[in-house]
């Protein structure tokens, strides 16, 4: 499986892209002499050049530095809530599939409820209550994503429990929790890996959309979506201000989408989604 | 994959190709009307079509457009799985009517519908006017195969290719479908090529039989001759492995061995590994077709004797005379 991963060019390239951007985000302070927050009113709205790699914004802040720090936020928002949503979705999905009809009805009803909202509008309601912040963006992404993950985990779990060896284990009196841990979870792993990878791009897009609307991450924090929001007024005169963070979002999303597709081909989980 | 086949289908005759799974029967059938899967190709050979009007043409060289013109009108085909062979999303009547529409046999919608219903009646589907509107999943396997036959017959073809038409059906339905095909050939003046692995089907319906093993014809003879006087060890194996009702299932006869996997470079007789005659020559040299009697041929060094080579060319010939 590891071998077939390295034979898959798309997978290798997308991992490389993600790792490079990740390292750039982590080691941002070493890559640029500028701080994401430091204003330099003398050097306002400079075009990309040798001194400022991607130019400066209307407050004289270095766009390249801001982009690296923004990528940090985007990657954190990509990984943390997605991981939590997959975790929550897995537990509830298995419970729904394997712990009786009542649990199934309630959990799936709740999943349907959260899926009945357009994600953006539900997130806006959360922003209204909690205010625009890191935490509220994370909460809204978890609420947006857990339902569909739970649904898929449920259906895959159901097809796993159809297997005779699991039914045999049941008849021999093995406890449900043991079956879940020893038999169901290991079989779910490929599905979970693919789900995790394919949900990351939607998390990135949700965060950037909320920040773009001005209700997500708030200044003075930096985020890619927020950078575009702040440069909206100058979009025609200084397009690079918006273009740099936009391209960064696009590359990240593309890389994770390609990786997810490739992983699905390699791991070949049982159901298609 | 398939080589050295020379098949002649006489007008109104029913010819069978018999052999075990994976030996290339279906490929042969699909090559006739050019519906081979994309990985398979006809590399050489010819298929000579003798039109009733006296015209002669080679089906292999026909362009896609030209062969499609003949499909449905000259050559029709029915398949093994009547469930998957029908479009699940379309009413069966419309699927049959499509043949008339494609070939402009009947442009008037009402008249076309009437013809379809007539044909459904001809293939003994009860309440044809109601069934016209049915979807494939609403019909039983036997009914679906009747629909397939109706679809094949509506263009009034001269040749019907039936690729394992009864394999997916239960035994009583099998007999009914075979009887129907036989009757259709007689009423509509049509020839048929039956592809099957079932010796019972062959004895039931075919006039002449080709026994195929791994893409090569091993023996060919009129049905009665083949069953009465099987010559090739493979044919004998096939006939003796038909289970009788009173046979003890523990001792069902089989042909030992399985189909060899790598046979690209192999020059000998395809059957030698499983053959009871352990002769060195068979491993190095493919036998030619030997003539046993007037229309009984066999490809075997041991049994064939020295009556002379009849045909060993790599050609696929379809003749209708």
């Amino acid at each position: 499986m590891v071998k077939s991963f390295f034979q898959n060019k798309v997978a290798v390239i997308s991992v490389a892209v993600i790792v490079i951007i990740g390292l750039m985000a982590v080691f941002a302070p070493f890559l640029t002499p500028y701080d994401a927050q430091r204003q330099d009113l003398v050097a306002r709205l400079k075009a990309p050049g040798a001194e400022h790699l991607l130019g400066t914004d209307e407050l004289g802040r270095d766009v390249f530095a801001r982009m690296l720090y923004g990528a940090r936020v985007s990657l954190l928002i990509a990984v943390i809530p997605t991981a939590l949503a997959v975790f929550l979705g897995t537990i509830l999905g298995i419970a729904s599939a394997y712990y009786g009809k009542v649990a199934d009805l309630i959990i799936m009803w709740f999943a349907d409820v959260t899926l009945a909202f357009p994600g953006m509008l539900l997130a806006m309601a959360i922003m209204y209550s909690f205010g625009g912040s890191f935490l509220s963006v994370i909460i809204s992404i978890i609420i947006m994503e857990w339902g569909s993950i739970a649904r898929i985990v449920r259906s895959v779990t159901m097809s796993i429990t159809e297997n005779e060896y699991i039914q045999a284990a049941r008849t021999m009196g093995v406890r449900k929790i043991v079956i879940v841990i020893k038999h169901i979870l290991p079989n779910l792993v490929p599905t979970l890996i693919v789900l995790f990878t394919l949900n990351i791009p939607s998390s990135i897009l949700s965060e950037s959309a909320l920040s773009f609307l001005g209700i997500g991450i708030q200044p003075p924090e930096v985020s890619l979506g927020l950078m575009i929001n702040q440069s909206k007024a100058l979009i025609f005169q200084k397009p690079w201000l918006a273009l740099a963070p936009s391209l960064m979002i696009m590359i990240l999303v593309l890389a994770f989408n390609y990786l997810g597709d490739a992983l699905r081909d390699i791991l070949d989980p049982k159901t298609k989604y | 994959m398939v080589k050295g086949i020379d098949i002649t289908i006489p007008r109104q005759g029913i010819v069978g190709i018999v052999g075990e799974s994976g030996c290339g029967k279906s490929m042969t059938a699909k090559s006739i009307n050019h519906i081979l899967p994309s990985f398979a190709q006809i590399t050489s050979g010819s298929m000579i079509w003798h039109d009733p009007s006296g015209q002669v043409c080679d089906l292999v060289t026909l362009k896609e457009k030209e062969i499609r013109k003949r499909c449905g009108t000259d050559i029709a085909m029915i398949f093994q799985e009547p469930m998957t062979s029908l479009n699940p999303m379309m009413r069966i009547g419309d699927q049959i009517k499509e043949v008339l529409r494609i070939h402009r046999l009947e442009t008037n919608g009402e008249k076309a519908k009437a013809r379809v219903i007539e044909m459904l009646d001809a293939v003994e589907i009860p309440e044809p006017a109601i069934r016209y509107k049915a979807y494939p999943h609403e019909l039983s396997g036997g009914m679906r195969q009747r629909v397939m036959i109706a679809m094949a017959m509506i263009g009034n073809p001269k040749l019907l290719i039936a690729d394992e038409p009864t394999t997916a059906l239960d035994v009583t339905t099998q007999a009914q479908i075979l009887k129907l095909i036989r009757r259709m050939c007689e009423t509509y003046n049509m020839s048929a090529l039956m592809i099957t692995h079932n010796m019972g089907v062959v004895s039931n319906i075919c006039d002449y039989v080709y026994v195929m093993y791994l893409g090569t014809i091993m023996e060919q003879a009129p049905t009665s001759e083949l069953f009465g006087n099987p010559m090739h060890p493979y044919t004998r194996g096939l006939l003796s492995s038909i289970p009788g009702v009173y046979d003890n299932p523990e001792f069902l006869k089989t042909i030992p061995g399985n189909i060899p996997v790598d046979r690209k470079k192999f020059k000998g007789c395809e059957f030698c590994i499983r053959c009871s005659n352990d002769i060195k020559k068979c491993f190095f040299e493919q036998a030619p077709l030997y003539r046993i009697s007037e229309d009984h041929y066999i490809r075997c060094h041991v049994r064939g004797g020295n009556d002379g080579d009849i045909n060993n060319g790599a050609s696929v010939t379809e003749k209708e005379e």
Partner: protein, 304 residues
């Protein structure tokens, strides 16, 4: 039909859950929204009067049932900020969102299905690689980026189309493309994979044996079967499209539901936000039922 009735009951239960959830989310933070609304300048009496008129002094469960009763009668409450019934505001905004969604769906479907079909027919050859790249790009680009790039190119660079929506049909072109872009990508991907799954189906052999060319067989018989999952995606896309509409409407200045919700967040107008979110969830639920019905019509196997 009983399956359909059960489905409708399910949807009603889900909508009830939707109401509870949105009600809880909007009131999870303690504090009197009336006080927030009126700032600190007004006297206590005014706050109390407003609080009472909005039932905010009653316990939460009672508030919920009062709200539920109101909704059932078609009363979604009064907007704090605009001082008008929420339902009126939502119904005024709704046609704009419908127009936007319909046009972008049209764009997405025409382009998505077209590209998907070309990709599948030429699978693993140059046009396929090209279009697969384009469709993956389609799903990977944020909506606002598409919107800004379109504005930059078609308004600023070439002055071909208006910058924002002004009521004319021409000014709807850019918003529709911006919103439809993502869906076009996913429709294309699904069409391609759905169509390619049909390639090995036996009924295509039958169609060719009837006299259709391979291409005709795929485009008539194959496409019919491949479209079922694509249509099923309609409902899923409706949700995504309403999400995207928030952004598109804000960029292009369209006074639709999304813009209304955004302004409700910005002006801290709780009843208005509650009403718009609830209304959009209702739309999605209705959309789910409709796509279910369409599916039943399309796929005879689903009919009971």
């Amino acid at each position: 039909m009983s399956g359909f009735v059960r489905r409708c009951i399910g949807v009603i239960l889900v909508l009830l859950g939707v109401m509870v959830l949105i009600f809880v989310i909007l009131r999870i933070i303690p504090g009197n929204p009336a006080a927030v609304l009126l700032n600190d300048h007004v006297n206590k009496e005014t706050i109390e009067r407003l609080t009472a008129s909005m039932n905010l002094d009653k316990p939460l469960p009672e508030q919920f049932f009062l709200y539920l009763a109101g909704v059932l009668k078609g009363d979604f409450g009064q907007s704090y900020y605009m001082k008008r019934p929420v339902l009126d505001l939502v119904l005024e905004a709704f046609p704009y969102t419908v127009k936007l969604t319909v046009f972008s769906a049209l764009f997405a479907w025409i382009f998505g299905i077209g590209i998907g079909v070309i990709s599948a027919v030429h699978h693993d050859r140059l046009p396929d690689y090209l279009f697969r790249g384009v469709s993956l790009l389609g799903v990977s680009v944020p909506v606002f980026m598409v919107a800004l790039v379109l504005q930059y190119l078609f308004y600023f660079k070439f002055s071909l189309l208006p910058l924002v929506y002004d009521g004319s049909a021409v000014s709807m072109i850019l918003p529709a493309i911006a919103l439809g872009w993502n869906s076009a990508g996913s429709v294309a991907r699904l069409t391609r994979s759905g169509l390619m799954e049909q390639f090995n189906e036996a009924y295509l052999d039958t169609a060719r044996a009837k006299g259709l060319t391979a291409r005709q067989a795929i485009l008539t018989h194959g496409l019919k079967n491949a479209m079922v999952p694509v249509i099923t995606m309609l409902a899923l896309q409706l949700s995504g499209m309403l999400s995207g509409a928030v952004i598109t409407e804000s960029v292009f200045g369209i006074a639709g539901i999304g813009k209304l919700a955004l302004s409700a967040v910005e002006t801290r107008d709780m009843p208005l936000l509650q009403g718009t979110v609830l209304f959009s969830a209702l739309i999605i639920s209705v959309g789910n039922i409709i796509s279910d019905l369409i599916n039943r019509c399309l796929d005879p196997r689903l009919r009971v």
